[in-house]
Subunit: 461 residues, 2 copies
């Protein structure tokens, strides 16, 4: 029996205790975007530092201007490689709460017909369940062998769901401590429930948050309706004009730096056997939206987008209020691909918006955020080794995929610390992350833990 | 000294006590549209019934399916006319609370430079301040003369700001008790701070409240953006399409029953000396919105409108949530003029909306409400007498005006009880009703009370 075999057996035997620990973490309401949950975020950070300490890491909670970081170090055998593992302990808000089948911070395991088991809770998939697969793999390595197969630094962030404002200053202050041979990022998904995946490209993102203002106060729509500028009307016209009839984004220069998919990559993606109809029907839709004459996979992996993520103006409560609001606001995000420059897209959006404002309206831009798209080097030897380890665990070759979402930290690892990232995670498309009833497959948690044990073994060689 | 003179002197002398009573009523948080304030609505009704009883009315709180009515009767001299006075004790919600300069339910009197005094509180103008001008006029008549100059029935409603769902059933059950020679409705305004007004026409209204639904859950905009239908996009396109480039409403048949303003009326309105620039600059605007080539007075008095009163979709809290919402909702109101049929406009809106929905979206219509426009008979002798009484009090002739707002009860008085309505009130355009920092001029309250004393005297003859 190899060391790895005994570690894997230990992972199997300790699954109940691993779940107990995960549930403890899931019960902490670490919603980073809402200031009301500040102390819960710190509580989650402290819980993780304490847990890593029990494994033998030199772990600490590190203050930032926002929510704290957790940093932990463990020395491996001499001359072994040194990896940085990254995850985040913060979670998305839970509204609308009434759509949850059970309280979001009271984790449960649900068994479906046929025996499939799922962990239900906010953060089960994004990202507490994912990061604990790595922690549990480390625990079993340590318990079984007395050490780890390689040197590890672990970084857990608490602001991933709220734009990571403290990340760059933290990197700048602690770059040397965090720089390793390779980063491992677990905030990604599998191809399907039986097929692991390594993500080789990510879309970037620009987020815009703005308010359009008209009259100096809310107005009675009877007294002023028909003569006073209604900022909701202005906002709806502006947002409706963001896409043309063919679904393309109308911002000036939006597609200037977008490259067409290379023929080789298109063929590889076609080989994945993606079922667009199933993808849409699982979310209750039958027709793809967006750009005409593009496949669904292209749309979500290699095409840029504009999406309104939030809009609000006037009276939205029960009943009716005949008001012309003084202001209306929206949150809009753009997904970026290829070489699109976040700053350029932001400027183009500001220009578009300002040029569509009537004389009596003003616009106030609030938090703007941006991150470029990421394209990894396919030829990295670590990617090949990780792919082999994943295939051993799952019995299916790992799919090399793109991701429609953004993991801005991967760009910062490269830019600030000079590190490439291995993106491996065990989430599934139907995990409902960012939505009510978020879940994580029990198989993702269990075999995910086993996968990390194998990857650490493979990459240590 | 006539009876009227001594009543007017008493009104002057008792102003401090009148204000004390008004403040008591203003402190009651009778927000009818929000179920959380149900008991406050009943409290306001009881307060009014108790106060009317002290004057000598036979007053009672009458249950309905919603908030209660207050009905009070007082017999006048034999063969005197019998009037029904209508007001409402419910008020608008107070959000956004942070824009109020003081708590909305803690009334204060503010003195401006130059000595002008204002009563500040939610409901000070709409409608508690207005209805108390009538109650105080009755009190002083009764105290001074031992009776009232005519027979009076008073009806105070508690659902005017939430669509008056109980009004029609109440009229149907109590029609005989409520039918008088003429109704008096105080929910209207003055021409300016020195010029009283009688309202001769009112716009009608249709209110629409609906939700557009797309995916079966909220989606992550990274995983689905560019391929999944975003209901906020659909909603903004639909709302942006409600007006064409010239500001006209695009619903089919919308203008079919709209009459052009008669030349005579246009001339009378021009004689009022309305200052459109001042009207707009007071609310921080410089350019009229809405239909091209119409005067501002036409736009707010005699032209139909479509206004979005509320819109909501996706995440609107602090921070950012990269979500594609499962649904988006809006509240839209149409102001009606001439012979526009609320039912027809509703049907046209439903048709417009359904014809613009993509295949994967559905729409759910919630509460729909409708009331036709009102045009009063100018030649009623009571209108002439009231105008003379108002001129005596204010020293300026009463302006005969239209109202952009809707007072649906005036239509129901005519339709169900066969009564015309005398619409006299002392609100001002800048009272900020339905907005933060609602106020009522102290002169409106004081001289308004005196005006009602004069009108009752004039109409009793």
């Amino acid at each position: 029996m190899t060391k790895l075999d005994s570690v894997l057996t230990r992972i199997d035997n300790q699954l109940p205790q691993s779940l107990d620990r995960l549930f403890e973490l899931l019960r902490i309401k670490s919603i980073s975007t809402d200031p009301a949950f500040k102390k819960h975020c710190r509580q989650a950070a402290q819980w993780l530092a304490d847990d890593l300490t029990t494994i033998g890491f030199d772990a600490s909670v590190r203050d930032t201007q926002g929510h704290p970081m957790v940093v932990a170090h463990h020395q491996g055998p001499e001359n072994s490689p040194h990896f940085l593992f990254y995850g985040h302990y913060d979670v998305q808000p839970v509204d609308p709460l009434n759509l949850w089948n059970q309280p979001p911070f009271e984790p449960v395991i649900k068994e479906l017909e046929g025996g499939q088991k799922q962990i239900h809770a906010r953060g089960s998939s994004d990202d507490k369940g994912q990061l604990m697969t790595f922690v549990e793999a480390c625990r079993c390595w340590k318990q079984e062998t007395g050490t780890l197969p390689c040197s590890l630094t672990i970084l857990f962030e608490g602001e991933e769901e709220s734009g990571s404002p403290s990340l760059l200053p933290f990197f700048e202050a602690n770059g040397e401590e965090l720089t390793c041979d390779l980063a491992m990022v677990c905030d990604t998904g599998m191809w399907d429930i039986k097929t692991p995946a390594i993500s080789a490209s990510l879309r970037g993102m620009v987020t815009e948050d703005f308010v359009i203002k008209a009259a100096n106060r809310d107005l009675h729509s009877g007294h002023y309706g028909g003569a006073a500028t209604n900022p909701v009307h202005i906002l709806t016209k502006i947002l409706a004009g963001l896409h043309d009839e063919s679904g393309r984004v109308t911002l000036e220069g939006f597609y200037d730096d977008v490259e067409e998919l290379p023929e080789e990559q298109r063929r590889q993606w076609e080989g994945l056997g993606f079922d667009a109809g199933k993808f849409l029907s699982e979310i209750g839709l039958s027709m793809p939206a967006g750009e005409a004459n593009r496949s669904v996979l292209e749309k979500i992996w290699s095409r840029p987008t504009a999406e309104v993520n939030g809009i609000q103006g006037g009276y939205c409560g029960d009943g009716f209020k005949t008001v012309i609001a003084a202001q209306a606001s929206a949150k809009v995000s753009f997904r970026l691909v290829s070489n699109m420059d976040p700053e350029k897209i932001h400027e183009s959006f500001v220009k578009y918006l300002e040029s569509h404002l009537p004389e009596d309206c003003s616009v106030e831009f609030l938090n703007y955020g941006g991150a470029a798209a990421i394209q990894l080097d396919h030829t990295l030897p670590q990617i090949k080794k990780a792919a082999e380890a994943l295939e051993e665990e799952w019995g299916n070759p790992a799919a090399i995929v793109a991701m429609g979402g953004s993991v801005p930290i991967v760009g910062e690892f490269k830019r600030l610390l000079g590190m490439d990232s291995l993106m491996v995670g065990f989430g599934l498309d139907d995990d409902a992350i960012h939505s009510p009833n978020e879940k994580y497959e029990l198989s993702s948690f269990h075999k995910g833990t086993r996968s990390w044990a194998r990857i650490l073994d493979a990459l240590a060689e």
